[in-house]
């Protein structure tokens, strides 16, 4: 058994970033008496974490293979499990998205009244788990964070959710955990095969990627990982948990769920499943593409028929994720960049829309499209921003989703023109359901006499989101730049 040497950077920024929220969560749990302190603590920690992410973004230069800030020490020697965190461009972008959306979440969680300390603690634990998922390079460490991110969401849905929250929380947890148990098995299987082959046992992704596998082994193990990632993403036909979970979750929960948690599934595909099993992947790409197109149309169709805005947004997320996976399946540089950019844009725009749904619901006490009407006349600022995010979500040029979508479609066209053409048709669906949403909510006769416009806290939430929406639409290069090297490296493994 080879003992790899521990490497530690001058300062463990990544560990600090991952464990800062967790320690904040412990403080919140110990200090549940003062609700005010918990809110401010949560916000401060989220801002500080975001600060670290920004600092890393500005200061760190990746080495030749695209990695930086590598922290690698032995954790469980018996199984050569290592505590290995590292960051590359893709992880960096996801980390930026996570830490940013967590600040939004904290602000959005301000009006929560029940068990405030617990609520903020769970949000912070969730943040730690998510950051860990994006940074872990050891599969057991990855699995650990994968589960850690799951648990807070179970409680968030179950405690603060709506009427059918118990079933939704259980369904969410059982569904996703069942998937991840298969991943665990595949991890162990790969570990044993790799160890038997080389005599050097390791859980590091980079080591395991060098394992010689027969195609049958690849399929089996790939299937195990896919079970976890496809359910989490969620790819059609494993998507049924998302509309339930999303519509029953509290506002913040649904924001984190769509904005961040489901991104981990796609991230897992890119980071783990594809590089570890290149042959199975290249065989499966057409299947992925087909299912992605099915998702695009099926979810778009479903979204059009929803009356509950949250369910509509859930299906719209599934549809968008379909487009993301379509881009990945096309396997070109442009399409991959587009997919990753679309993940970020979707997190921002759908997150913003979910936040606004919560704001509307606070005012009018409904999310039913049949009961909403004429918001523009009463709350113009709120309505204008709602319009902005909805248009961004349907892919209006100059706003966030467009740049991602167009890159995906161009990139797909290079290898699979038919997919791209069908994809464009699918995007039309997005226009249909989004316009229906806009029309029902904003136009028409007002239903209530008085509706308050945005409060300062709500402005504070929405303005950064609006800026980012425009930024991502006009100058996506900021976010595309760090993605270049890692995407090229990821694609290099395949013909």
């Amino acid at each position: 058994m080879i003992n790899t040497v521990d490497t530690l950077p001058a300062f463990p920024w990544l560990s600090l970033m991952v464990f800062l929220p967790l320690s904040g969560a412990l403080l919140c749990l110990l200090h549940t008496r003062s609700e005010r302190d918990c809110r401010w603590l949560g916000l401060t920690v989220a801002v500080a974490t975001f600060g670290i992410a920004i600092w890393l973004f500005l200061s760190q230069q990746p080495n030749a293979s695209g990695w930086f800030c590598v922290e690698d020490i032995e954790w469980i020697g018996r199984f050569s499990i290592r505590y290995n965190l590292a960051m590359d461009g893709i992880a960096l972008v996801m980390v930026l998205l996570t830490t940013f959306l967590q600040i939004v979440s904290m602000l959005l969680a301000w009006p929560v009244r029940r068990h405030v300390g617990l609520f903020f603690a769970l949000l912070l634990i969730l943040e730690s788990g998510l950051l860990g998922i994006f940074l872990a390079q050891d599969l057991i460490l990855f699995y650990l964070f994968w589960e850690v991110a799951l648990i807070p969401m179970f409680f968030l849905i179950g405690i603060w959710g709506h009427n059918r929250r118990h079933e939704a929380a259980l369904k969410f947890f059982l569904y996703t955990l069942a998937g991840s148990l298969f991943m665990l098995l595949a991890i162990i299987g790969l570990y044993v095969i790799h160890g038997d082959q080389t005599g050097h046992y390791s859980f590091l992704i980079s080591d395991l990627a060098r394992t010689e596998l027969t195609l049958r082994q690849e399929y089996l193990l790939f299937g195990g990982f896919l079970a976890a990632f496809a359910i989490k993403s969620p790819l059609v036909p494993f998507h049924t948990w998302l509309p339930d979970a999303l519509s029953e979750a509290p506002a913040v929960g649904s924001l984190d769920l769509t904005g961040l948690l489901i991104k981990t599934g796609v991230y897992g595909l890119i980071r783990i499943a594809f590089p570890l099993f290149p042959n199975a992947t290249s065989e499966c790409l057409p299947i992925f593409g087909t299912f992605a197109l099915v998702a695009l149309f099926h979810a778009g169709w479903c979204a059009y028929h929803q009356d509950d805005i949250k369910r509509l947004l859930a299906y719209s997320s599934i549809s968008h994720l379909g487009l993301v996976v379509l881009g990945l399946a096309a396997w070109t540089f442009t399409a991959w960049q587009g997919s990753l950019l679309l993940m970020v844009s979707h997190g921002i725009t759908t997150g913003a829309l979910l936040a606004m749904v919560a704001m509307i619901r606070q005012r009018i006490a409904t999310r039913n499209l049949q009961k909403l009407s004429g918001l523009w006349a009463q709350a113009p600022c709120l309505s204008a921003l709602f319009l902005l995010f909805a248009l961004a979500s349907l892919g209006l040029p100059g706003l966030a989703n467009f740049s991602g979508e167009i890159l995906v479609l161009i990139g797909t066209f290079q290898t699979r023109p038919i997919w791209a053409i069908m994809g464009i048709a699918g995007v039309v669906f997005a226009a249909a359901y989004m316009l229906r949403l806009i029309q029902r909510v904003l136009w028409g006769e007002p239903t209530q006499a008085e509706v308050a416009d945005l409060s300062p806290r709500e402005w504070l939430i929405l303005i950064p989101l609006a800026i980012l929406t425009v930024w991502l639409g006009i100058y996506p290069a900021t976010f595309l730049k760090p993605l270049e090297t890692p995407v090229l490296l990821a694609l290099g493994g395949l013909p």
Partner: protein, 487 residues
């Protein structure tokens, strides 16, 4: 008798080999004597003396680590294997004693005889782990079991407790009969009760391996232990006994004696029957699957948490059995690790039940746990950690243990067994999560009865939490120990 023979016999006596259990027995006896002179109802001293006894024993166990002692003509071995299991028993006994005093007082049995019985039971378990002769193991099993029969039926005015004691005694005696019959048959075949001698004899005389007498002996011995481990189809006693017995004893039984049975079973199978490995692993494969499935499926339907934990402990025995099927170094040391992890997490969960229950324990239903997490935040968090650990989620001891055992199974090529085990873990999520759904997702009951939070029980819960997290977050050290402990 020839003087010379006596001398040889005495030379072979090595007191160090049984020193830990001897100390424990001395403490138990001393405690019985002291009790005579104290008025009934005083129990504090008994708790303290027993705890001191356990700690002192623990020190001697540690002292023996890495320095194996063999005694009594190789009938007893205090090797690393025994030492590791001894630590598990001591942990189980210590946590049990810490939570007992309050519970016994509440149920109206502040009796100090209870504690020596726990100590004797633990000593019996230690003999089982260090026995290298069928007779020593049998002796240990009986010492342990007799103590447990009494403890299970300790509440002599409660029908349920009586039922538990009687049921356990009758079925236990029956299974002991099986074991003894098996030992007799094997003695008949090989002419020895020494484990290593049996193994060498069977290995040298391959014609005997297919002999019906050998096979019958193997199966009968296995049944004797499988009964104690509560493996399906020998599990029928478990739910009733676990539900009826005093809660701390249930906790103890599910961790200590079960681990002891695993210890002897492992040793016998590995020392005596290694030549028949393909046969007994095939047999255990089926039983492991049955045990996991039946335990989990029935646990789903339970509405009483104590009973649910009883059935789930059947399922956990099934997971541990997977390690035996793997029959490699990782699988075996996985069992050792899992048993220690299970002692922490399961006894911890029972300790929470001790504090949650009222007199007579009529409120350990799921409904009774509504909003428990808000009424008793500390206990809620503790229960959450134990349940996550029992589910096998990282970063808890349960995950490390399951990972260990399933890694062993995959390594040995039992991929399907690992798949079935993982699927069963998924099933178990449902009933463990349901407790949490009631604890946190429901509003507290109006007529919630407050019970005090005695320090001793809290200490046992804190130790259990510490153990569950330590073995989950930094399991490296204990995993190394477990690796050094297997043959």
């Amino acid at each position: 008798m020839d003087n010379n023979l006596v001398q040889i016999a005495l030379q072979n006596v090595n007191m160090w080999a049984i020193m830990p259990s001897l100390i424990l027995i001395c403490f138990g006896m001393g405690l019985l004597l002291i009790n005579v002179f104290l008025p009934r109802g005083t129990t504090k001293h008994a708790v303290w003396i027993s705890l001191i006894g356990l700690v002192v024993t623990g020190l001697f166990v540690f002292k023996g680590w890495g320095d194996p002692q063999y005694g009594f003509n190789d009938a007893v071995a205090l090797d690393n294997f025994a030492a590791f299991f001894n630590i598990t028993f001591l942990v189980a006994a210590g946590l049990t004693i810490l939570m007992s005093d309050e519970y016994l007082r509440r149920e109206g049995y502040p009796v100090s005889e209870y504690y020596p019985l726990v100590l004797f039971t633990t000593a019996g378990a230690m003999w089982m782990a260090s026995g290298t002769d069928m007779m020593t193991i049998f002796l240990g099993l009986e010492v342990m079991s007799v103590g447990l029969y009494v403890l299970a039926g300790f509440f002599r005015n409660q029908v349920r407790s009586n039922e538990a004691g009687l049921k356990y005694f009758l079925l236990g005696a029956f299974s002991t009969g099986f074991l003894l019959y098996g030992i007799a048959l094997i003695y008949g075949v090989t002419g020895s009760t020494r484990l290593t001698e049996i193994g060498i004899y069977l290995n040298a005389h391959t014609s005997l391996l297919g002999n019906p007498m050998t096979l019958a002996g193997l199966v009968l011995i296995a049944i004797g232990f499988l009964f104690k481990i509560a493996v399906v189809p020998f599990h029928m006693w478990t739910p009733d006994v676990y539900e009826g017995a005093p809660t701390p004893i249930t906790a103890f039984m599910s961790a200590g004696p079960k681990a002891a049975a695993f210890a002897s079973f492992l040793r016998i199978m590995e020392y005596c029957f290694f030549s028949l490995k393909p046969e007994w692993t095939a047999m255990l494969w089926v039983l492991a699957v049955l045990t996991m499935v039946v335990g989990n499926v029935i646990a789903i339907t339970q509405t009483n948490i104590k009973r649910m934990l009883a059935y789930s402990s059947i399922a956990h025995a099934g997971y541990a059995l997977v390690g035996m099927v793997a029959a490699n170094e990782i699988g075996y040391s996985g069992i050792l690790f899992y048993m220690l992890a299970y002692a922490f997490m399961n006894i911890g969960a029972f300790a929470v039940l001790v504090l949650a229950g009222k007199k007579g324990e009529d409120n350990l239903t799921l409904e009774g746990f509504s909003g428990f997490g808000y009424k008793r935040p500390f206990l809620g968090v503790a229960m959450t950690i134990f349940l996550f650990s029992l589910m096998g989620l990282p970063p808890t001891a349960g995950f490390a243990g399951k990972f260990y055992i399933f890694a062993g199974a995959v390594k040995a090529g039992y991929l399907w067994l690992a798949v079935i085990g993982v699927l069963n873990s998924a099933v178990s999520l449902y009933y463990y999560l349901r407790v949490m759904v009631y604890m946190y997702f429901r509003d507290p009951l109006e007529d919630y009865a407050w019970v005090s939070m005695p320090v001793s029980v809290v200490v046992s819960i804190v130790i259990a939490i510490a153990g569950s997290l330590y073995l989950g977050i930094v399991p490296g050290f204990v995993m190394e120990l477990a690796k050094l402990a297997v043959f």
